[in-house]
Symmetry: C2
Subunit: 422 residues, 2 copies
């Protein structure tokens, strides 16, 4: 938890540096809210239940849908509404490295802004957070749902729901390979010709090629324009080198409408795949009953990031937060030790006091095992002289100090230690 | 959320000053774990559901039971294990002031220590947290489950389950009054004589009286001894004046075994009742399959505390965390504004950049509405001289500053401002 909290703190600080503000929502939502635009696959992963009044509910599977529900019911919130949320979500999936049934997401969203500046700002902020965590070997793969719509239309698919099924199949390309995706597309009802046509387009390597091949399809031309704008804006944010166009990038969720992003490791550890992702979802909020409000966001996966940091040996060390342990040399000194502990705590120095009946040696064993840097030993003889013993646990050095110097000594020792740890 | 985060931060800091360390557990647990020792009433308030594999689960109703389950399955964790957890729990109750179906608890627990020093340390830590939040008009009502057991035994009740039903009835004394409790006790099957006997004892005012009246009942004598020890220890922690003995204090949960505590407001706002509570639960961990491990803890109710602070006008002000807004005087200056914003962010100064197509006046309206203290205005003319305009939103004063002085100027302004806010 200590390492985890430090990771979350770095992400939170970065979000605030970018001007995002915190907003939380409840763990569960009404079933109709969660399933409005999530797609079949996610729907099957939701933990569903009824409350005592018979209302159908579900644990949230992401932080975006609850946000959209809140915004729809508070349409007058000043825009842009830039919120962040670092919290739990739940999906009934197969657990694997960096993937659990309860997991944490760190989300940023910009609500109410049509300009793709909002999208690039989110990508820039997530990039900065990863970089502050020490993760730099990633690229941001980018595509637009509009380009994919164009791909579908180019082989004659017009139905919205068939398009979404096609996107969900394409999203699995990396996981199940071209043959797997071909089979899924067959099952959706696409002809061999359509499937070949799609794969021909999915092999395009650059925005220029896509622009040329899809120039006659209106929605695709709009998508290409958006991507060009993303690249142009990325230059002012200083992140243009991160971006990699990938026409086969689809994202699994149904609610995306424009640019979509996936942050992937590009070194050997790519098994972990996506560590962050998101995109524009301009139609989602209106589904909950408000006027259309444009929106875009990026989500970081805390467990994946923790796992990447662990593999890189960059996980913050879970050092004890306790600065000093107050030990009693004899049972008679126990209450005196508590009083000294209380004095130290009044100076806001994190302090543990012996509350066991252990002898001094065993108390110091515990201090060592806990990694607490200093012990104060309260003994009868020293106390008569108004003193206690301060023991540096790393060196074993002991010095006698006046009881009224304890706090200033500890503060000095902490500062020196913190400096040497930096 | 900003006010809430500040409240949680103060509580968290206090917990760490007392040497507690963070540990989280999942939001849901197996049904058997949650219901092992919670009592009927709570059992009916649990949100229950099945996962896709047909396992019966429930959202946790407190943070103690999950902790006990974790400790039982990790019996070798070095003791004392002093953990804190500030997180959500769920109960299907009637919502009212400071009481919601999803709410946050801030818990501290000391695991593995039989000595009542552990209990008093928890009470002292919770007292300190409330006091740092500005809440001082509360008493800590204290009783022991063993004294209550003695009360039950004194009227001839021996069955464990009947005793627990009696405790749950007594727990409602404040809510439903003496007549209400009498009726519940009748329903449990107690005779009028037994009920009268119980109420006679519940009217005892002091530990001395209880000691005298219950001296022949072994468990009660042990309970009285514990209470005397609690008072003695409370003196070294400096909290003896907070304690108020209340023989009718019972607590609703079935897992308590020794001293129990309730922190209640003693001024006019006592409608909100208990803002913190807890006690010893020495038998709970063993129920999950480990050897017996003594344990005690205190829980603070975040929503209740927030409501108390709101009524006292002491809720931390939700000031914007954003230090500066970068505005563009004309649309042509937008990308330049983004670049300046990115530079400011690299200096870790929280910054929002205009990403709308609003004109300057509307941008400044937004800055005002958001309560952001400074705006930087990027205009073509100034920029040609290597300058931007820094506007103090409170006074309307504007000064021209060099672009390479922006960060040092903002840092200076922030420090001055933070000082004046302290």
């Amino acid at each position: 938890m200590i390492a985890r909290e430090r990771v979350i703190r770095i992400i939170k600080d970065t979000f605030e540096i970018y001007g995002f503000l915190p907003m939380e929502t409840p763990a569960f939502e009404r079933w109709e809210v969660l399933t409005k635009k999530c797609g079949e696959e996610i729907k099957n992963q939701i933990y569903e239940f009824e409350d005592k009044a018979g209302r159908k509910l579900g644990l949230r599977f992401d932080l975006t849908v609850p946000l959209a529900r809140v915004i729809a019911s508070h349409p007058t919130v000043p825009k842009p509404f830039k919120r962040y949320c670092i919290s739990r979500v739940w999906r009934y999936e197969e657990p694997q490295a960096g993937r659990f049934r309860e997991f944490w997401q760190a989300d940023i969203d910009v609500i109410g802004i049509e300009s793709l500046h909002a999208d690039v700002e989110c990508v820039s902020c997530a990039t900065e957070a990863l970089s502050r965590l020490g993760i730099n070997d990633f690229s941001v793969f980018v595509n637009s749902r509009k380009v994919l719509e164009g791909v579908a239309e180019s082989v004659g698919i017009e139905s919205e729901s068939v398009k979404l099924s096609v996107f969900r199949a394409i999203d699995k390309l990396e996981k199940i390979g071209e043959n797997g995706v071909r089979k899924e597309l067959e099952e959706i009802g696409l002809s061999a010709k359509q499937i070949n046509g799609i794969f021909e387009l999915l092999r395009l390597k650059s925005i220029e090629e896509a622009k040329e091949k899809l120039k006659d399809i209106e929605v695709a031309a709009k998508g290409v324009e958006e991507l060009e704008e993303i690249y142009r804006f990325a230059r002012c944010y200083g992140i243009e080198n991160r971006l990699k166009f990938d026409i086969s990038l689809a994202r699994g969720l149904d609610y995306y409408t424009g640019p979509i992003f996936e942050f992937k490791l590009i070194s050997g550890k790519s098994k972990l795949g996506t560590i962050s992702a998101g995109g524009r979802y301009d139609n989602l909020i209106a589904l909950f009953g408000s006027k259309p409000i444009p929106a875009t966001g990026i989500s970081l996966g805390i467990e994946r990031i923790m796992e990447v940091l662990r593999l890189k040996n960059k996980l913050p060390e879970p050092k004890s937060k306790v600065a000093v342990f107050v030990a009693n040399a004899t049972e008679e000194m126990k209450e005196k030790a508590v009083e000294i502990g209380q004095m130290i705590r009044r100076h806001s120095i994190p302090c543990e006091v012996n509350i066991t009946s252990r002898n001094l040696r065993k108390q110091l064993d515990y201090v060592n095992r806990r990694g607490i840097p200093y012990a104060l030993i309260v003994g009868e003889r020293e106390l008569k002289e108004g003193c206690v013993v301060l023991r540096d646990m790393a060196t074993g050095n002991e010095i006698k100090i006046k009881t009224d110097e304890i706090c200033s000594r500890l503060k000095g020792a902490r500062e020196t230690r913190n400096k040497s740890l930096e």
